[in-house]
Amino acid sequence: MTGAPVASRPEAAPPPPRQEDPGLRHRLAERGIDRNLLLILPAIVFIVGLFIYPFLYGLGLSFQPKEGGGPFADYERFFTDPYQRNTIWKTLGLAIPAALLNVLASVPIAYRMRGRFRGKRLLTIVLVVPITLGTVLTAEGLLNFLGPAGWFNRTLLEIGLVDEPIRLINNYWGVFFSLIITGFPFAFLLISSYLSGIDPSLERAAATMGAGWWDRFRHITLPLLTPGLATTFCLTFVLAFSVFPSAILVGEPAGETRVISIAAYQAAYEQYDYPMASTIAMVMGAVELIVIAAVLVWRSRFYTGTTGGKG
């Protein structure tokens, strides 16, 4: 940078060597500190403004209970009241099975859909479209399809399998189905991309060594995919854990599906108790972190290095 003007004035004497300046800059650059670092500034502004500050504000708020009684009074109230405390188990009872099912159902489908075949694009679209629907549309569809007068129950009644409609909405199952419909495409896309990152010649090599398809999957693909499965589980779990609209629309928000986000909503907008709402939000975050930490500890037991593919 300093050399350019010198080159344009050939008659000028060469500048005296400046040892410190380039030396320091060079040392900093070796540690990754240079002007390119400024590129992450916008991201830092966003993270501080939209995540760290609101988070710390909420954390502070949760220690200032509206009804007094010390900084931890709201936490105490939450955990001593079974009606509040049980929302944790209700939410986990929805989110963990839903996330597990999403991941486990995606694996065989994504595995089967590797490589090229006719109609792959169409099939992918069909599998992924639900991600664009949104919770409300999904809920409406579920009401029409699985409701007491919906096609599903009418069909069961017609062929005489049941005597009265099975209750599949406005309870646990309604929310569960909704979480599967919105969560599956997400898990499928993630797992597909993890699978495409595994070098296909590994399975070919295993085949030439006498491994049938199940052994190839079990010994080669699955171990290499496991870290990706853990990550996918975490992400779909977080999505499912913050379930709110479908818990109200197709669930039973006063009972079976009174999930933790409903508790937080009621505290904030029905009782106008912001400190309590913040407390519930903090508890919600802590539970998510505990589950994610447990999954990541489990994941660290597996090989997490390169998988040789394009990923």
Partner: protein, 383 residues
């Protein structure tokens, strides 16, 4: 699988593979005897890797059949053929240690634990990786990974080992070392091997027999000596290091040879294939067969005068580019010290100068990319 371990002949009958409308491999007939080392040789896109994948069972045939003696194997999936394969990128399982990589095939055969351990250790010893046995492939150098890949293939004592350009990812020095290693392994284990490469030197030094492919078709099958000294057509010659390919015109017979003329040259060559008088021929000669003489001595039948243009130092020898008065560019190797601008006289023996008929329709297009030929094509109307 037991029966396949001992076989006398592996036979490929009219093996072909189409991709859409193009033939990647056409009508490959080949008999491989037990213990033979066969190299499939050709430029990229010639169908050699296709042939290997067809043999391994990774690619279904679209024509022909493959037989181990009287057993048809092309209908079997790869895991039931009992062949070992070394992949170009090694395809080591990244999450398994060297030991577990080598043991994998044995475990898949549900062998007793003690036998798996014994044979695994033997194979690791064979490729001298004892001290690296517990490392993951990612912690090994390219050459060591290569050895794991080989150990993993030979530990199963397969009836056939397939190698897909196994040395192409190594640097020059390591490549030579591993080449010797592969040859040594083949000599000590006697495993029937099919080896794919685009490197003629590698193929010549390793193989008992070579199969030269071009555009999916077999050009020639023969021993290294056959291919080196008697290429069947000019494509093979071009590929086997006949760097000087001159487009000349055939003349009358002279003794055992045939006169070839054009571009100010008049030489006596050995005809390979029919070259009736008046037809265009491609005359091929290796750089090392163009001998630099002082222009003295007995009058040789083929004497060419040229001026040195470029000299490259290559240790014991010099690689020289020289041009004749009529503009024909010649590649020469010389032990004499030459400098650009030197006038040299080149002699070539009749049996070292091969005249091939221009066989294909696409010859003009392809020949124009050959060394020396463009300089001549401009002068063709004059000659």
């Amino acid at each position: 699988m037991k029966g396949q371990d001992q076989f006398a002949t592996l036979t490929l009958r009219g093996v072909g593979r189409r991709f859409g409308a193009t033939d990647a491999l056409k009508n490959l007939d080949l008999e491989i005897g037990k213990g033979e080392f066969i190299a499939l040789l050709g430029p990229s896109g010639c169908g050699k890797s296709t042939a290997l994948n067809c043999l391994a069972g990774l690619l279904p045939l679209t024509a022909g059949s493959i037989w181990l003696d009287d057993t048809r194997v092309d209908v079997l999936p790869p895991e039931r053929r009992g062949f070992g394969m070394v992949f170009q990128n090694y395809a080591l399982f990244p999450h398994m240690s060297v030991r577990r990589n080598v043991a994998f095939g044995l475990r898949m055969r549900r062998l007793a634990k003690s036998e798996v351990t014994r044979r695994t250790e033997e194979a690791i010893q064979l490729v001298q990786l004892q001290e690296h046995a517990d490392k993951l492939p990612g912690q090994l150098s390219g050459g060591q990974q290569q050895r794991v890949a080989i150990a993993r293939a030979v530990v199963l004592e397969p009836s056939l080992v397939l190698m897909d350009e196994p040395l192409s990812n190594l640097d020059a020095k390591l490549r030579l070392e591993m080449r010797t290693e592969i040859r040594r392994l083949h000599q000590s284990l006697g495993l029937t091997t099919v080896y794919v490469t685009h490197d003629q030197e590698e193929a010549l030094s390793l193989a008992d027999r070579l199969v030269v492919l071009r555009a999916g078709e077999v050009q020639q099958i023969g021993t290294p000596e056959d291919l080196h000294n008697r290429p069947a057509n000019w494509h093979v010659a071009d590929f086997m290091g006949y760097r000087n390919l001159l487009r000349l015109t055939a003349g009358d017979k002279v003794g055992d040879g045939v006169r070839v003329e054009g571009s100010g040259l008049s030489l006596v060559a050995t005809a390979v294939g029919g070259v009736p008088p008046g037809t265009p021929v491609l005359t091929a000669v290796r750089p090392e067969d163009l001998v630099v003489t002082g222009g003295t001595g007995a009058a040789a039948p083929n004497r060419i005068g040229a001026t040195v243009e470029v000299v490259e130092y290559q240790g014991r020898e010099l690689a020289v580019e020289a041009r004749t008065a009529d503009g024909v560019l010649l590649h020469v190797r010389s032990e004499q010290r030459l400098a650009p601008g030197d006038e040299v006289t080149l002699d070539v023996a009749v049996d070292r100068l091969l005249a091939f008929p221009e066989d294909d329709g696409d010859v003009a297009e392809e020949a124009s990319t050959l060394d020396g030929v463009p300089a001549m094509s401009g002068r063709e109307s004059a000659g």
